[in-house]
Amino acid sequence: MSAVIDSHSDDHHHGPAKGITRWLYTTNHKDIGTLYLWFSFLMLFLGGAMAMVIRAELFEPGSQIVSPEFYNQMLTNHGLIMVFGAVMPAFVGLANWIIPMQIGAPDMALPRMNNLSFWILPVAFGILISTFFMEGGGPNFGWTFYAPLSTTYAPPTVTFFIFAVHIMGASSIMGSINIITTILNMRAPGMTFMKMPLFTWTWLITAYLLIAVMPVLAGAVTMMLMDIHFGTSFFNAAGGGDPVLFQHIFWFFGHPEVYIMILPAFGIVSHIIETFSRKPIFGYTSMVYAIASIAILSFIVWAHHMFTVGMPIAGELFFMYTTMLIAIPTGVKVFNWLSTMFKGSISFETPMLFSIAFVALFTIGGLSGLMLAIAPADFQYHDTYFVVAHFHYVLVPGAIFGIIAGVYYWLPKWTGNMYDEVLGKTHFWMSFISVNITFFPMHFVGLAGMPRRIPDYALQFADFNMVISIGAFIFGLTQLLFLFIILKSIFAGKQATSEVWEGAKGLEWTVASPAPYHTFETPPEVK
């Protein structure tokens, strides 16, 4: 009897396998988290390189380096890769690493599915990127792929694009099932829902959003596939179909999708502000309710992306009002973060700098979002650079700064070494300044009348576009510094303590740094 128990516990304490098989066959949440994060980093640079091509083309009026056709391929794949390849996998990577440690679980609930949901991602993006080397080129219809431009008028490679989107969707759905199952079933004894860390909370809600909308996206691309290859006319007006139907379906997926890309960042930033203000988070309960309200509202605002398609006025007004409502829970969150800092004892390490910038610049993005919600004014804003400015403010200094802040915050826990604080701060200031040089003037050219998704523009937009491009080049180059800082902290740096940050709260700070391969095999007791 005792012999059996012994061999069992031996099994439990083995370390990672050697070589490539460690990564191919791994079912360890930390390994899979690492894979997700590196994959997302690779995609960030690929999507970023495409952004650089776009900004080089727009550096001056007139044709610069690429053809209009290739420009469209760049802007489409920049969007697709950043949304599905960079931001979403980065959050899933963080979830994999952090959620089990935050709730005191030994691993994710479904480790083999976890492995599968990661490893089909490189396949999906391999398929997507391979279209660049096929006849007709890659997808060129925008990341929103409106029919019939993406069906009847699409390049022949659109079928590969559809297949890639299906696989990405399957990966996201499996990832969400795993996260929900883990959070619902594997919390340490005593961790009630209202004691759950906010990052775990945001991910629980995000995972439900993903499960709800990813099948809708799959439905949309399947209908496209039918239209292209099997003679149906879902979106083809000539056959009795409805091109606007596509937009309704797409945005029913698309709007929850944009909250999928920001909610986990809310969670990360809440932890960081709490830690570095040395004060408990203000209004934990209202934070949870605010996240839940944002998630619920996200299902009834989708047509604010479509104010100019010719909806009936009742539709315009309904979607205007519901969209404006989102400002309430979002405002609550911002005020809660500020109140957390109020009367705190604030220090400004790199994660905190990124988090403060997150709150400030996300507020700007939120306010321009409020302007865009005003339907009659949106007739002037719609599909101009004002929109581009808005969604980049919530996605770059929003989602991506949130991810970067999280990486700096938890990096010592992953590597066991502190990152280089001076380089980290340099990275922050360079990013903060250049991100504003890049995206702030977009508000101006947008209001002055520059449409989005154009490869060339009228002369009055020339000066601002040059400034935008310069900002973008600086921002792009700065992220190489981020790569260097991470590599440096993997191989060297001051040994981190288990707590890492003075007064950091949460179970992940009770395990050693670097976190052992297996943590919480015996569940901790939460009081």
Partner: protein
Amino acid sequence: MVLIKRIFAALISCCVSLPLFAGWGDVNMTPGVNALSREIFDLHMTIFWICVVIGALVLGFMVYLIVAFRKKEGDKPAQFDDHPVLEMTWTVLFAVILAVMAIPATFTMIRAYDDAEGDINILITGHQWKWQYEYLEDEVSFFSNLSTDLDQRNNIAPKSDNYLLEVDEPLVIPTNKRIRFLITANDVIHSWWVPDFAVKQDAIPGFINTAWTQVDEEGIFRGQCTELCGQYHGYMPVVVKAVSPEDYELWVNEKKEAKIQQALLTEKLWSTEELYEIGEGVYQTNCVACHQVNGEGLPPVFPALAGSDLVLNDKAKQIEILMEGVQGAAMQSYAEQLSEVDIAAVITYTRKAWGNDASGDGEIVIPKEILDYKNNKL
């Protein structure tokens, strides 16, 4: 070095042209030239200032927090973590501010959504990559193409003032008349936008959307397509010329006269050279986007014309393609867009240019053949 100088100049001019110094036009929405556009502009400015004030308060408070509560030796941070009254207060406050914005927005929205008939009703059809305008009462119809030439776009010639915002034939409307636009599309979704009118309406195949304007001053107003519609999405501007009602009448009569003249031309005897010359011009405006200047196209999406068996030897099929378009491809019907002379000329051109003359049957097409094709269809 020149580049550095230009970057510097751009940076300086941007700093200088920031709101305080230059006109708002470079950095803000236009108030426009009709009642609706001015109303929307006012609404925009109201929301804008509300957002600026909120933004300034939030960011200002953040700066205060950063300065006042930075960590000091022997700090004792407070440990409170909620304040229900305060939380309720700001939630209600947000709701009130939103209501203040929503009320005027609702009324403006209702005024913008007025689809009553106009004094003049114009059907606007988006095509890849041009606009078609049909005056329903006056029975005038024409296409409006970008007129900026390739040399400017390729940085060979200096760029004109209205680079990419100029067309061969603008939409002409009279002032002080209610104009209703009926907007649709022929292939993919486009969007017709004139900022000065505050009209932006998607042009969707199978749907007819409406918008309206009433312009009180003469002038030329420029806009662009604002919905990604394929590779030349950035090259389909909208130009509207508002003229006095008298000038508008004159213009309508001129257009009708020109139509009669055009019809007479089909009866004329044409030489190959004449057709080739006209065809070359037609090709430059209508065909180069896809089939390219050298006739090589961009296979597999846009087929080559140079050396194409169809162009070399199958005159009848070529006429049919130009008249009917190709189902499921970007190739559209030109029967409505081009005159019989232009269609005959451009076919002749493609059969003679790029060495096709030598390798094919070398037959030309005369306008009469196009007319016959049309008549046979009837």
